[in-house]
Symmetry: C2
Subunit: 211 residues, 2 copies
DNA sequence: CGATACACTGACCGTTCGTTCAGCGCGGTG
DNA sequence: CACCGCGCTGAACGAACGGTCAGTGTATCG
């Protein structure tokens, strides 16, 4: 059965509410984004939101999952590119920078959900739904790193720590890019990250000396 | 003039309120930490807090500045150690890991203030007081990196981006350590970070091949 | 065209939280 | 001992917010 007219309208509403939520959270921050303002941003009444989402928590949660799903789709492609470890790493970093560049307003929501808030019951709920998304990202990168270690392409180090270091380090650069009026081309920052993580920043003594 | 008795009592109150604030924020998160609970944690009445802090914002702000001051004191020492760039870098990373290890509960507050919240007026106020603290840390590290670049010890890269990458990457590892029951010794993680940033993770082809 | 269904509205409710302030108890003073 | 000053208290207040629901407007159908 094709989508009925109601479904189309409903999907449109859900989508525009989620987009409004992302914009408001981006402006005011997670804690100060009110249902009233999200409704105004979406051009509807507050009550209408509750026809599509049970409560505020569900709105935030679903919005997060919908958008982070986009990131994961891109990463899927990057993870499955054949080629050297370096090429795959470059593809992964490029996917991340590209995603946040096109979804700059989502960044605030993403950042807020890193550490759960509220009563311990709420914290547990948030952990169940949002943390797995972060974990999945870290674990997949860690797996790639582990493979490269076993293949002798990369030094033996704790893969999880390395993945965290890389992801959060990149995130910091994304954040810097977002705050700049005229950031350098994306590829330049990708190169900085990839070359730093692969080769380090030190100039080896043999190269440094005139010899 | 020596400290009067009143001053001593007053300082004690201020300090214990700030410590209570850090503990409650650590448990509940910034947005859900109430004045009531902070007062209970400090063993005083809610109204008493207002004898020492104008309002909630000032409490948070002063608490942040007092504690981050501790970190900066340690970094001062690390920045001024003589020796090679590698030694100074190691001292800086060690100082950061050590600080957050001894102030684990402060981490939540630190993280929350990275991105300002609330109305644009509140955001401007937070930016004026908290962001300079982050900026200062980034800029100082960037300066060290620049020096090393000019000295030919380090490749020419954007120092600010490198500093951000390094600081946030380390922060991710701090966060991981805080969530672990039995984290590895601090020195191990310091080594991971320093060796990765200096030499990278790749095993160079000449070393890898049997040749 | 009148009846029915239903998405939508926004005033309203209960709750929570920051902030205030009248009053309390206690240590010091004459 | 009576009085006073003052640090402290916590009930009370108002603002703000999430969530509700009786009512309204409109599209659809007989």
């Amino acid at each position: 059965m094709a989508k009925s007219k109601e479904d189309v309208v409903s999907e449109f509403r859900v989508q525009s509410i989620q987009e409004a939520a992302i914009r408001v959270i981006s402006r005011k921050g997670m804690a100060s984004a009110t249902m009233q303002e999200i409704a105004e941003e979406a051009g509807i009444a507050k009550g209408t939101i509750y026809l599509y989402f049970r409560d505020r928590e569900e709105l935030v949660e679903k919005t997060f999952e919908t958008t982070i799903g986009e990131l994961h789709k891109r990463l899927d492609v990057a993870f499955e590119t054949d080629g050297t470890f370096e090429e795959r790493l470059r593809a992964i970093i490029t996917a991340q920078l590209g995603f946040f560049n096109e979804n700059r307003e989502f960044f605030r929501l993403y950042h807020s959900l890193r550490m759960p808030e509220g009563t311990s019951a709420q914290q547990r709920r948030q952990k169940r739904t949002c943390q797995p998304q972060f974990q999945a990202r870290v674990d997949r990168l860690a797996k790639i790193l582990k493979q490269a270690m076993d293949a002798g392409e990369v030094r033996q180090l704790d893969p999880k720590r390395l993945a965290l270091f890389l992801i959060e380090g990149s995130t910091a650069i994304v954040l810097e890019r977002l705050s700049e009026d005229a950031p350098p081309p994306e590829s330049e920052d990708v190169e900085l990250i990839v070359s730093t993580i692969l080769g380090g920043i030190a100039i080896s003594k043999s190269k440094r000396s005139s010899h």
